[in-house]
Symmetry: D2
Subunit: 359 residues, 4 copies
């Protein structure tokens, strides 16, 4: 009800603020008997972490976690699994300037109006540090997906005006992690890095697009009519900080096609029913059809910039503000594991929900 939980059967509840004690997540509804694979958690956290390179924030967050419950001898017990990640390197004094000012396009003003109280340092719950909870929850969800051999890979397909226009099937998705900006097209990757560095020099920021691909999805996931798989994916993506859009399959471009071009023709190959094209993006009538699911997520340019900006304080007085501190000029590369995590959460939940589809 208050928006800190996600999922129906497989459900995470997140808590913690960016500059408080730490970030925690309780994962409820995870089936018993699952072997914990900590490398999945560590890799996802490492990929999300700032301070990875010259183009990301200089904070050296450790992101070491404590498993508080739900695991016995490396196996899930059916009890809620709780993780806690202490905050270590928080520098609240960077935020002192914000005591009264409302940062443009941040959540300062709206939180203040909604709750009548504002947890100043680091943006509190609105900080991207909350996404640690998602990444850990998503890693546990991925362990369920692994039982079904479902694979999720996301990558950066656009930074600012630099786009990777190739279809995902023509890219080597294994190479995503070797790119600093998580773009599997090496030439484009270098252009993206240059663009981010230029923005950094200017004290400015960039946005971009993440493409996510899911392979080996079983047929039948998704609950008509309001909990269609694409509806739950859209919600998951738009719940990530700084996102402004979602499109699945043919997306906005598909609106310009004709039905005769867009319809995906069924055929049988061996035992499997497939479609010749996949403009549907792997979902038909809200239910997965076994083809790849793929979608794009739009990220606005980061609100935190180092150029001087006009704004007002909480009394409505105009002022000029200049941000300090450590912030990425482009958060899109670090959002790749978050997109993957939210995707895994949606799919794990729908896998369990689907267990009640038939008597």
């Amino acid at each position: 009800m208050s928006g800190n939980s996600f999922g129906q059967i497989f459900r995470i509840t997140s808590y913690g603020e960016s500059h408080g004690k730490g970030i925690g997540v309780v994962i409820d509804g995870c089936p018993a008997g699952l072997t914990l694979d900590e490398s999945l958690i560590q890799n996802a956290l490492a990929s999300r972490k700032p301070g990875q390179s010259s183009i990301t924030s200089a904070r050296a967050e450790t992101d070491s976690y404590i498993i508080q419950s739900g695991i016995s001898n490396g196996i899930t017990t059916g009890a809620p699994i709780a993780f806690f990640v202490p905050n270590i390197d928080a520098q609240s004094k960077d935020y002192e300037v914000l005591q009264q000012a409302y940062r443009p396009s941040h959540a300062d003003y709206t939180y203040d109006m909604k709750y009548g109280i504002r947890d100043i340092a680091g943006g509190g719950r609105s900080s991207a540090r909350e996404t640690i909870a998602r990444v850990i929850g998503g890693a546990i969800a991925q362990m369920i997906l692994n039982h079904y051999k479902i694979e999720i890979v996301a990558y950066v397909s656009q930074i600012g005006t630099i786009s990777c226009t190739k279809h995902y099937e023509t890219l080597d998705l294994n190479s995503v992690q070797s790119s600093l900006v998580r773009c599997p097209d090496q030439t484009i990757s270098e252009q993206m890095i240059a663009a981010i560095e230029e923005a950094k020099q200017e004290g400015d920021s960039l946005g971009g697009v993440i493409t996510c691909v899911v392979k080996q999805v079983p047929v039948g996931l998704g609950e008509p009519v309001y909990d269609r798989l694409e509806a739950d994916l859209a919600k998951a993506m738009l719940s990530i900080n700084a996102t402004k859009g979602f499109e699945i399959g043919s997306g906005f471009a598909g609106t310009k096609m004709k039905g005769s071009e867009h319809n995906d023709i069924f055929y049988k190959e061996g035992d499997q029913i497939k479609t010749k094209t996949n403009y549907s993006g792997g979902v038909q009538g809200g239910i997965s059809n076994g083809m790849d699911i793929y979608f794009n997520v739009a990220f606005k340019p980061t609100s935190t910039i180092f150029k001087e900006q006009e704004t007002i304080d909480n009394a409505g007085n105009p002022l000029m503000m200049q941000m300090k501190g450590r912030h990425d000029p482009c958060v899109v590369p670090r959002a790749v594991p978050i997109v993957e995590a939210m995707t895994a959460l949606v799919l794990a939940d729908h896998l369990l929900r689907n267990r009640s589809a038939r008597i």
Copy 2:
């Protein structure tokens, strides 16, 4: 859990199939003391109805409803409000051809795989006829919004390759209903009608984009972190049949801007805090900031076309199929009231949820 309900406090539950007895909706959580305004329901149903003109389906659905509960002397009592809309003009024999065939890009195959049983005629639950439940629920929700003076207007901003590129603030949104295709730009409206008629001649179909604008939204709606207002709007929109994308505020285009251009600068005008630009689309940190909310929804071209198509039957045998029956070559204009209804449902729910934000 099974996806036939939408909303948390203000919650609709939908039932019924396109070619069964009818469509019903139970609206639970509507506050007592609200005066029922039936014109809102009738107008929305009329706008959704097929058979309105040469460019829409020839079915003459009456869509007359029965109020089964929850209203006493024209006032809501706090009890669940139930509506039932009998099916009258259903012609199941149009669907006999479908007994075995899987229509391309429809839900036939996925429902069959998920449930092991398929309700053939009219697509059962996957039919757009279910949207009657949304439209009625949305009209009740709008009665709540009227108490807060919140206005929702949606319009068609693209059909096929014909786009209305003007900003919504430069359009006369009062003229939407006078356009057959629900586009307030008269020149573009005519081009859209011509495009739909051409597609109809070809037995083909078109997609498009609906833009939705919400004015007078109170500050403070939306629940961080997973139930951000834009996340719930995205889910609502992607739960509508044939949608492939959602973008709010600057959307996908905003990904190419720099932070210094994209940040919305706060200022005070009289007693009100506003922003100079509104790339945020009226939502910051997942919470409404009082500026207009506006977003786009992408609709694919209708799957039902009258050109001959390849497909397979449920035994996997290839066959050629030719659809008959009465279907719109473009459903986008009729989806306008559905987009408005889903928007109203999200906002009414968040208005009530927000009542617990402060002690």
Copy 3:
């Protein structure tokens, strides 16, 4: 949220008032592929129906239902199953006297205070007529239980001061339906009937106790720690009109035993693990252990009596009131199918929830 739905995965939503158009129920989350057995529904409705004998209300409610959705060729499709039972014999004028008066121990006053509006005739939502929704939902739930061979039998074990003190294992539970008061002990049954007739003569009413027994329950149903099976059963029972108490297994009497007497000793019989005694009532740690589940539900004497009573009107003025109309002097026998239905709803839901217990 507004209390008109029950269950998590297998979930009913009820609507309708006692003297409005009728009572409806939407059953969502029922697995596809279940054969509809209408005799279960008809028997339960017949058992719940007033007008069955001299000791029950003289209303001749027909309770014939319309199936509105979710069934195709006698099989559940996975879509929501909706039933509607029109009101036929409602006599609203019996209720005119109530326009201003608050009937003692009824819901008139509290509904008026909560909602600021009162649906006078028949008590609206607070009427026992709403239990039709439960009985139909419970019958569908029982169809799921039948797949697992789970049997539910409830009976009247006390009316007023007349008690059937025999343990349920010594009674012939097949004979419940042949007793007018649903008590399988024939001697006690006759005493109960006499007591009810005496109360009727006096214009007074009686309460009582229903005992419910569930056999063949699989081990493992119930979700620790807040959704223990007994917790969900307790909620289900206390949601029935006129109930004042619930006890499972040894119940209140067990509080006087010592641990060494009360502990149920495990042993193995063939392949099955059993307990020598069953003071636990078939549930340990909130989870079914495979032994019989049995519990008691307390019903207060019906509030509607025909003796003259003091009360006040909605302006607070004292007045004397005399009820008219048709009402049972004791509703306990008619509540037997309602107790069974609510039990079935809890168990069907937990059977489906348990499908996610293990990977």
Copy 4:
């Protein structure tokens, strides 16, 4: 869904095992602007704590908690409030004997069957140590109730065969905490202590009854028809370890009264509408009527006893077992704050839910 959360708007999620790292609770949906009163938490934890006297367990649990989120400068921020209570004095080796044995009337067998895995030490999630989460959540809930001046007092009204038969209105409820067994009748209190000491000598255990009284409840709490206030209270109580029954108002005894005796006659006193008697227990039609709410909760004798007992191991082999370790011969006194906490959770949730009753 997996039963580790309680409440709808005001909602707690509990995690942690008795012999793991500790117990945690996330409290979501707490309104912003509430002043944290830590004495409420500390008093409730102290009252729940073992090791308080010769009649309770000898464990010296510290129960010191860490506030992890949701509080800023002593005020709730609207963000989830998380508490963690580390386990300090856990002695897992006391539990080694249990590796294979199923303790009679414990959760060992049912957890093992449900999850296929058992977290041996201390009973894992089924341990009463989980109730720390409830007590903390309840203390936060009580802070909301304090805004409405709602008072909750529970006391022990029966231990084994020793009963305090006086009506709660004749007792000095302020003296509950000064009794070792939480019974405000001093003579009975001494008899109860003697009974517990006798049971302790015998290595046996006792059960009992807790009575809970709620004063100053606003009219209007409770959601018909399935979420009646008494239904949610019943669920709350039966979710507590070792409970076997619940009765509200006249309860099981009231089943023997006649309607003319049982009906609570309305009258007006000053501005307030009251009832002359209160057999309803402060709830009519599922909604609070402003009179005191009072109910009884039955607790079975503790399963852990020190007498030798028969049982079987997980292979089904019979064996004799003798429990060691530190356990209370009667947990009922320590359950008093748990009953109060669960009551507060139900009421806080319904206070917030009631904010949507009217437009």
